[in-house]
């Protein structure tokens, strides 16, 4: 069964915002990603979104595109990502792992094999960026059969009618895209986020996690105040880009990259709703 709901329930009980880092699996190699995942958890990540590298990431900005190119240059494949998730799960039985990617690698592997692989690896949720619910075929049912959550995106352009439809397909958490654009863009229209989240609250009790454009303590605090937590992707991938070669031999460098999440964790906890 998915670890996402218990994790979100714990956070709600403790009145703390969920903090979910995103990183590209295999950027620049799987050993580094594994070391980073453990370090991110140690510094306060509640869950981890693991990006499946795809040659044509048309919803991603330049930072994540470069991360994907590094991962593919290092030979990353979907089978390798599942193996990475399994190795992480061997060491950490508690932290939810969500796979996020594009449909083609999953389509070529086959929905059945992919779902079985996720179940074996202890993956808790799957988010396919270019697969709206209407085009999802039997993938949601297969994932549900293994107790794996189906995460979908809601964006500023989503109409209320459509949000209702998406929510019906969604489990685990709802991913709210904070801006019109690609990952790593600048967060401009914060007021519209507040209004849209308020609208979504009327439609669902699912945790609403906000992503895109969140890159530091300030943006994380502002967005966490509106939702149940934040996702930080491009800002972390930018730090990973700075890692020295053979980074696993430099634990201090890995720690430094992951410290972005440590800083945001402290900011969120300090700002805990209990405190305010």
């Amino acid at each position: 069964m998915s670890r996402i709901a218990p994790c979100a329930a714990r956070a709600r009980e403790q009145e703390r915002g969920l903090l979910i880092p995103y990183l590209v699996a295999g950027d620049p190699d799987f050993a580094t990603t594994l070391a980073l995942m453990r370090e991110l958890v140690a510094r306060g990540a509640d869950m981890i979104e693991l990006g499946i590298p795809f040659s044509d990431p048309s919803s991603d900005g330049p930072v994540i595109q470069r991360g994907v190119e590094r991962a593919l240059a290092g030979g990353a494949t979907l089978a390798g990502v599942l193996e990475l998730a399994r190795r992480f799960r061997d060491q950490d039985g508690r932290t939810p792992v969500i796979l996020m990617g594009y449909l083609n690698p999953i389509e070529i592997m086959g929905y059945g094999e992919f779902t079985a692989g996720c179940a074996r690896a202890g993956v808790d949720g799957v988010l396919v960026v270019d697969m709206p619910p209407a085009e999802a075929g039997d993938l949601p049912a297969l994932l549900a059969g293994q107790g794996i959550d189906r995460i979908f995106l809601v964006s500023p352009t989503t109409t209320p009618g459509r949000a209702r439809e998406i929510i019906e397909y969604t489990s685990g958490y709802l991913y709210y895209v904070s801006l019109k654009g690609v990952t790593g863009a600048a967060l401009e229209d914060r007021e519209s986020v507040a209004g849209n989240i308020a609208g979504l609250r009327k439609l669902t009790d699912l945790p609403i996690i906000i992503g895109f454009g969140i890159r530091d303590e300030e943006t994380a605090l502002a967005m966490n105040a509106l939702g149940d937590g934040v996702i930080i992707g491009s800002a972390l991938v930018e730090k990973i880009e700075q890692l020295p070669p053979e980074a696993t031999g430099h634990p201090e460098a890995i720690g430094e990259a992951a410290e972005l999440i440590g800083k945001v964790r402290r900011a969120l906890d300090h700002d805990g709703k209990r405190v305010s």
Binding site: D56, N104, P132, P156
Partner: protein
């Protein structure tokens, strides 16, 4: 005199309401674009139901593009090949030199009716970029064209043409730096400027409604050709041949003939250095179904689902996917999809140039290369209709370079 096209069998009448051709097509886009794509589908459905819209479209095609394009009997080429009589549908004589303008005229009208002020487009060979920049200039709209950095080098004259027309050309440095990456970048732009931007996709691929809409605009080719052919000969052609990259000129020619079950159809993909090598751009001949750029279709993809780099002598065919309707027509076996290599293509390029005084685009030369092989096997008196989708002026520098000729000296 005008025999109306027979009614289409149900399986050829796609797409369904949600944009599917059998298992292909659909609208696989990120959530930010879902509404934009749905609004476009609604706008097109409502406008395309109005005769005034098509009157406006037809008037533009007549007065601005110069339609109908001629149907030309290439007698010397037919003699050289032996066998069938060869007819060319002269899309190369359109304004801007290719079939691409048929589509941009239609989409620009749609953009105008939707109140969009900013056009974006992707381009490979530059023909669609030029056709987009052209309609933008005519309508006073802002135009941004994404083009792979690699293609910018290969197609320098078209880059300058777009700039002259007032468009901004943006070099795409990511991925393989060709057409597919330009399309990724255009999708990113669209998601970022979704409120005021109209994305003119240049082929019958992308999310619904593009494959249907672009087909409808390009079908003027086949409707004209069918009428012209009947007027000239009293019969229908025995076979149609067109090149297939994304497949817009091919579907434009084929679609009005789909119900004519005696008309054979051949779509010619870029076989590059050979279909048995990795260096080609022939997803229908040598790929498999997957999902890219908003639709499910045949793709050049590896066993891990990564999109493969493609190779073709012509930038316009250098694309790893193909329109979903072609994928469906392949599975239905209504159209046969074949390949022409770079070498065969260059031979055909020279043949048409020397025998008929027409310099064809390298894209269209793929269709000619296959047509030559087919014609030789056909009986004299049979008729073969080839879509000459574009003129080759843009390619002469590339041909000179490929053949080690000294460009610009006598």
């Amino acid at each position: 005199m005008h025999e109306p096209a027979p009614e289409l069998r149900r399986e050829f009448s796609g797409p369904d309401e949600s944009g599917h051709f059998g298992p292909y097509g659909g609208a696989f886009v990120g959530e930010t674009l879902v509404r934009a794509v749905a609004e476009l589908a609604e706008a097109y459905a409502s406008l395309s139901a109005k005769p005034e819209f098509w009157r406006e479209f037809d008037a533009d095609l007549a007065d601005y593009v110069g339609r109908p394009s001629p149907l030309y009997l290439a007698e010397r080429l037919g003699e050289a090949w032996g066998g069938a009589r060869i007819w060319l549908k002269r899309e190369d004589l359109n304004h801007t030199g290719a079939h691409k303008i048929n589509n941009t005229i239609g989409q620009a009208l749609l953009a105008k009716h939707m109140g969009k002020t900013r056009l974006i487009a992707e381009t490979g060979a530059g023909q669609h970029g030029v056709a987009s920049a052209t309609v933008a200039a005519r309508m006073g709209l802002e135009c941004h064209v994404y083009m792979g950095a690699e293609d910018i080098v290969r197609q320098a004259p078209n880059v300058y043409r777009m700039k002259l027309l007032g468009a901004r050309v943006i070099a795409v440095e990511s991925g393989s730096r060709t057409l597919k990456d330009a399309m990724n970048e255009a999708l990113r732009d669209w998601a970022t400027h979704v409120d005021d931007t109209y994305y003119i996709i240049g082929t019958v691929a992308g999310p619904h409604p593009y494959p249907r809409m672009v087909r409808d605009f390009q079908s003027v080719i086949g409707r004209e050709a069918r009428r012209q052919f009947l007027e000239r000969t009293g019969v229908l052609p025995d076979a149609l041949v067109a090149c297939v990259g994304g497949g817009s000129n091919a579907i434009g020619l084929f679609h009005p003939f789909l119900g004519d079950s005696d008309v054979a159809m051949y779509g010619v993909e870029a076989a590059g250095r050979g279909l048995d090598t990795p260096d080609h751009a022939a997803p229908l001949c040598a790929g498999r179904p997957g999902v890219l750029h908003g639709n499910r279709t045949y793709l050049m993809t590896d066993e891990h689902g990564q999109i493969l780099d493609t190779h073709s002598v012509s930038a316009g065919l250098d694309y790893p996917g193909v329109g979903p309707e072609h994928a469906w027509l392949k599975d239905l076996e209504r159209v046969r999809y074949v390949g022409a290599t770079d070498r065969e293509t260059l031979e055909a390029f020279h043949q048409l140039t020397r025998l008929e005084g027409i310099i064809p685009a390298l894209e269209s030369s793929h269709a000619l290369a296959w047509a030559g092989r087919l014609a030789a096997k056909m009986k004299s008196g049979q008729n073969l209709l080839v879509n000459l989708s574009g003129r080759g002026d843009k390619d002469i520098e590339a041909v000179a370079r490929l053949e080690g000729a000294d460009f610009g000296t006598v």
